[in-house]
Amino acid sequence: MDLLAAGAGQGRGVAVAVTDAPKIITSRLVHDDSHTLDRYQATGGYQGLRAALAKRPDEVVGEVKTASLLGRGGAGFPAGVKWGFCPPGVWPRYLVVNGDESEPGTYKDRILMERDPHQLIEGVLIACYAIGCAQAFLYVRGEMALAQERIAAALNDAYAAGYVGQGILGSDFSVDIVLHWGAGAYIVGEETALIESLEGNRGMPRLKPPFFPAAKGLYLQPTVVNNVETLANLPWILREGGASFAELGAEASRGTRMFAVSGHVRNPGVYEVEFGVTTFRDLIYAPVYGGGIRDGHALKAFIPGGASAPWFYEEHLDLPLEKGAVDKAGSMLGSGAIVVMDETTDMVKAALRVVRFFARESCGKCTPCREGTSWLEKILERILDGHGRPSDLDLLLDVCDNISPGIAWPPKQTTICPLGPSAVSPIASAVTRFRDEFEARLGGAPVPVTVSMAGGAYVAAPTPAPEEVAS
């Protein structure tokens, strides 16, 4: 724990709850040396890989389908089904591991990569075997220095121990795993942008269609992009069987899930909980989890699944942590980040804070996101500066509507990728629920006319010497 806090440079330690709840992916985190090969092997490590190699690849896929393992990146798509989308007979195909965890409030994959890198590597190997990949790319977010270090060390150990490379464990199955460090763009967590970045281009999403990664992914070859947590489940599933996994959790969400709780709670941390059994109330208030709102304050709102998700309130506390129920209630479990806001929170500022994040992280490729998110940011800033007009709330919502038509959930989009609509959620939530807080700030000073000379309003173009250009 100390090591983690120091090494990650995150300032705060990360709590991992000790509860009776079943542990699938965080079972080793109680050990200080959970990241080492020795500890991993001593705790059932690489048994799942051995079990997988004893089966045919299609049986491994079947096992994962039996487990009904949902993707843990945010969209929650069944992993086994996703693997099946690669067109048959097209080779090579690649596995790309999405370790670019950047959704505000989300830090579960970081913990998994820092504290149990071999579990991820084993998961990668199992997935490669199932899909038929000889090469996997592990893309780790640029800022996660400790994760990068731990994964690199683990990968070296795994190569040395014969788990990765040519003829794994004496079989004819061979895989190379390539590590790639990101450069700090949020949008690279979107799978097609990640692929662009991996190819050495600007991290910008591709259009789907036609660039569905399963058909035209990395280097335009069939590519499976899986989240770190998704893959980390595979060793357990193969070791214990898909059916055992499916016994855990709820109807639409099997197994367990890691939730990162942050904000105004007593015990921010990452907790692995069983789907469907635990509720938001448990996670926020139970002493083994969030431990309640800080300093006796009261809950005002919480984000249930990362900054992109529409907000939840008091009345949603008893919803089970389960995809189906949360989707039905109009939001998502998304990346598993629960951000709690107490009654001291200024909701206009909170909305601005989230919108600003998306405006800064917009890649700039498509118009609605590039122009829309930053316009929303400017409008909110203006309202906070006291220059709001009564028409601004409708304007905010209409700009939102032009980015995400209907402001519905699940969101529609005029954009290429879901980043733009992500900025819509907090505004739609805040303006709808806390309209009075916005209105209280309107009708102040008139809108100022600003003219800045920043960047040079007009600067005469210097004439280049001809030889500079001639060639």
Partner: protein, 924 residues
């Protein structure tokens, strides 16, 4: 952008706004909508580039059975049963919303923006926008226009980041010099430091910019679009024959823009073609005739100058006979001028010492006597191209764009043979750089398993042989170096004709209308219509007073004869032999040796300064007529402005001279001349003025032979019938008519005028008025008359005309033994050089780069000099001093240099009587 097949073969039925229509499978919805006359607003979409779906302006509701969903219509391919709704409240809201968002940071400086009035953003804001912006916050700021090159200025505040310019540079031109920098709302287009947008194609980005972000330095603040008069014409910068629109105001040319026609330039232009118009606006243009008075040229009246010229011609004719008269040049002239001069020279004066080429081209028999490939045929999707010639980017710049597209996008494969490494090497499956004189042996090794010359990579040779063995071969053949005899290129042509007689050949001619001039008989041994003296004598005798019987001299022969005092009158038709003939010394002796030199030119060039009579000629953009490009495509030239002073078209000079010589050409107008050409030239039969006027894309001569395989053109200009037309004859099905074979990808819809129709809908005036944003559409509506290509099967030259010129292989040019102490000189040409038309265009003048000697690095090592050092290059003719640089693309036994024309330059080294030019290098 999949290969589009003809609608009848693989049509799907979709519904656009409730209307069912048949479209080719895989056609993009935005194009399919246009077939239904439904205009979808767009910015990033461009019919000649891959769609990126970035601007999101073209969102429409698409229902594939799972309910309507907003989709960018530029990215979705038509599939059976698709329902497309462009005008539902949801679609309209999305389109209006995106437009408002595009305007959020766009400075509304339209009143001072060059694009104002022809701006897709302005137009579509009117037709599809919200009317008013709700943005009250401060907009994004960047430094106002910054130069990205000498030709193009960039205003990043106006930029809407549509990726058109950057895509063009990267995908079309292959020169990724402008990029997106930074991210999000601060994204900007820019160049990297010290890497200016120095591209031959930079002006295209100005034309395709949908806002005023990229502007031409030459056009900034010069005019407003609504004040411009526009005519469509053909570029005369080189022999490619790109269609252009000339914008003028107050009788001055303001700019050239490319016009999108399928068979030639796809809307693109090179910067020389785009900005070279500045030369015709030069103050130094000749505006009055000149005559020699002692050492000086003094002004003269037309009648005086014509009288002097006529007297000299008459004296020569009566004195030593017609053979003492020679006419050099004619490639600058339109076909009509070339015909009038051919008629004067051959039909009145009776001399056959006539050559439109300047010793740097190919014999007319090679150009006209081989089965002909059109540009489309050369670049056929999936085909195989054998390129024997120069660097296309330097000589036929837009052809390079077509080649690049064919290889990169359409699966064509290329074997490139150039004297040194060129831009083709990276496109080619195999590239060869034979040393001078070894070209025929290499081509023989490739095509008929002849022994390979030394030093050829056997693996590359084997790969190329396999490739070239296929049956879809087309050949491009040109003269890459003017420091060696044309004979080697002719011998290579002979190998092609022998080994692959069916393979069509595109002659890589360079000068503007050189093909037209050859067609008109401005070559020794030829008569108008690609016929020989013998074959055409009887026919031409009917309309001409006389027809030469003996084959005359070619350019080098004429200059040699003049140097030896055998030429009394040397006429220079826009020819500057001192600058243009490979052998400068010979040219100098010739000008001194000819008794009288008569020049017709735009400028006082080095050669015309030495003339006795100089006529001021009306030049490009100043004359009506027709132009014939490398593939033999005849297209119209339109007069846009008046020539300076009393400058006249060349045909008038010919007619006047004939009159003063007691003859009458019987030609009183350009229309007269064309009518006579059409009547007497077998290759041009049927290509009437009316046909040309209707065929916006031009007409390839000769017209195809078999009527069943042709598309007839009705008087309304609609293509009907024939194998190419829609066999179903469907009432609603559009007449998309294809020239031949599979259509190259990236080709715009033939009907696609994608300019916003405006709130009132399409106006009929649009068809008559030339679209300034001609790039916006594919080919133009109402002008897609398709005329059959020259006999794609290649059954023979001149469409099987029995009179036609046929190529017969001459005795091979001997290959001199290698002198291991010497390097063989390769002299290539560059797009920008010190020639008159570049130097008289101020914006281009500074772009002609230094031309150092390029040698293989090992040669520098042997010499013991550093790159950049000055060395002495010694040929039997002369010694010059110039810098030398290392270039691994140059073969070891070769020294290469770009041709510059001035005295003391490389032209002094060349002796055109020698088959190769050998030089020795010494440290200076």
């Amino acid at each position: 952008m999949t290969d589009v097949e003809s609608p009848a073969e693989a049509g799907v039925t979709i519904t656009v706004d409730g209307r069912e229509l048949q479209v080719p499978r895989g056609e993009l919805l935005i194009e399919a909508c246009e077939r239904a006359d439904v205009y979808v607003p767009r910015f990033c979409y461009h019919s000649r580039m891959r769609p990126v779906g970035m601007c999101r302006q073209c969102l429409v509701e698409v229902d594939t059975g799972r309910g309507p969903a907003l989709q960018p219509s530029c990215m979705i391919e038509a599939a059976d049963g698709m329902k497309v709704e462009t005008g539902t409240p949801v679609a309209i809201k999305a389109q209006t919303g995106v437009l408002e968002l595009l305007l959020v940071n766009h400075p509304l400086d339209c009143p001072v923006c060059d694009k104002g009035g022809e701006c897709p953003l302005q137009d579509q804001a009117m037709s599809h926008g919200p009317g008013e912006s709700r943005m009250v916050e401060e907009k994004r700021h960047f430094e106002k226009p910054i130069p990205v090159s000498d030709l193009v200025a960039l205003d990043r505040e106006r930029c809407i980041l549509c990726d058109r310019c950057t895509r063009f540079a990267k995908d079309v031109a292959g020169e990724p010099l402008i990029h997106f920098l930074d991210r999000g709302n601060q994204t900007q287009v820019n160049t990297f430091p010290d890497h200016p947008f120095a591209s031959y194609y930079s002006g295209n980005t100005v034309q395709i910019c949908p806002v005023g972000a990229l502007t031409s330095v030459s056009y900034r603040f010069k005019a407003r679009p609504w004040d411009l008069a526009q005519v469509e014409s053909t570029c005369q910068g080189c022999a490619m024959g790109c269609r252009i629109v000339i914008d003028t105001s107050r009788d001055r040319v303001n700019r050239h823009n490319g016009v999108d026609i399928d068979p030639v330039n796809w809307g693109w232009l090179c910067d020389k073609g785009r900005y070279g118009y500045q030369a015709i606006e030069s103050e130094e243009r000749l505006g009055a005739p000149l005559r020699r008075e002692g050492d000086a040229l003094v002004g003269a009246g037309w009648s005086e100058a014509l009288g002097l010229a006529a007297r000299a011609l008459d004296e020569a004719r009566r004195g030593r006979g017609p053979a003492s008269i020679a006419v050099l040049g004619g490639a600058r002239l339109p076909n009509e001028g070339a015909y009038a001069w051919a008629k004067l020279a051959k039909g009145v004066l009776g001399t056959d010492n006539v050559d439109a080429q300047m010793g740097d081209g190919l014999p007319a028999e090679v150009v006209l006597g081989l089965p002909r490939a059109t540009i489309d045929r050369l670049c056929r999707p999936g085909g195989t191209i054998l390129w024997i010639g120069p660097d296309p980017r330097e000589e036929l710049a837009v052809l390079y764009l077509r080649l690049r597209h064919a290889v990169r996008e359409d699966g064509a494969r290329l074997v490139a043979i150039t004297p040194t490494g060129t831009v083709l090497d990276e496109l080619a499956t195999a590239a060869f750089h034979p040393e001078p004189a070894l070209l025929p042996a290499l081509v023989s090794a490739l095509l008929e398993d002849g022994p390979a010359p030394d030093g050829v990579d056997p693996e590359a040779l084997a790969a190329a042989r396999d490739l070239l063995g296929g049956d879809d071969l087309a050949v491009a053949l040109g003269r890459a170096s003017v420091a060696e005899s044309a004979g080697y290129t002719v011998d290579a042509a002979a190998v092609v004709a022998r080994a692959r007689p069916e393979a069509p050949v595109l002659p890589l001619l360079r000068r503007a209308n050189v093909h037209g001039a050859l067609d008109m008989g401005l070559a020794p041994g030829l008569l108008p219509g690609r016929t020989t003296l013998a074959a055409g004598a009887e026919r031409m005798g009917v309309v001409w007073d006389t027809v030469p019987t003996e084959r005359g001299l070619d350019a080098t022969g004429i200059l040699t004869a003049a140097a030896e005092g055998r030429i009394d009158v040397l006429v220079l038709l826009g020819a500057d032999p001192l600058a243009d003939h490979p052998d400068r010394e010979l040219a100098a002796r010739a000008l001194a040796g000819a008794r009288t030199v008569i020049a017709s030119d735009l400028f006082l060039t080095e050669s015309s300064t030495r003339a006795d009579v100089v006529f001021p000629a009306a030049g490009p953009d100043e004359v009506d007529g027709t132009h014939t490009n490398v593939e033999g495509r005849i297209s119209l030239l339109a007069q846009a402005v008046t020539g300076p002073g009393t400058a006249r078209p060349d045909w008038m000079v010919a007619a006047e001279l004939a009159f003063r010589l007691g003859a009458d050409l019987g030609l009183e107008s350009v229309a007269d001349i064309w009518a006579e050409i059409e009547a007497v030239a077998p290759s041009h039969r049927g290509i009437t003025a009316q046909l040309l006027a209707e065929a916006g894309d031009g007409v390839v001569a000769p017209l195809g032979a078999a009527p069943a395989a042709t598309t007839e053109v009705t008087s309304t200009g609609e293509a009907v019938g024939g194998a190419d037309a829609d066999p179903a004859g469907g009432a609603d099905a559009p007449d998309v008519v294809q020239d031949e074979g599979p259509e190259p990808s990236g080709q715009g819809s033939a009907h696609g005028d994608s300019e916003p129709a405006g709130p009132e809908g399409a106006d009929d005036a649009e068809a008559a008025r030339v679209d300034p944003e001609a790039e916006e559409g594919g080919g133009r509506a109402a002008q897609d008359v398709v005329v059959p290509e020259a006999d794609p099967a290649g059954t023979g030259p001149a469409g099987g005309d029995p009179e036609g010129v046929r190529f017969e292989a001459p005795a091979p040019t001997p290959v001199p033994p290698v002198d291991s102490y010497a390097l063989r000189l390769v002299v290539t040409r560059t797009l920008y050089d010190d020639g008159t038309l570049v130097q008289q265009a101020p914006i281009l003048a500074g772009l002609a780069a230094e031309a150092p000697l390029r040698v293989h690095p090992s040669v520098l090592d042997r010499l013991g000099v550093d790159p950049g050092a000055r060395v002495r290059a010694i040929s039997p003719r002369a010694t010059i001093t110039l810098p030398v640089v290392a270039d691994p693309g140059v073969p070891r036994g070769v020294a290469a240099v770009a041709r510059r024309r001035r005295a003391g330059g490389v032209a002094d080294l060349v002796d055109s009587s020698q088959p190769v030019t050998e030089i020795r290098l010494e440290t200076a």
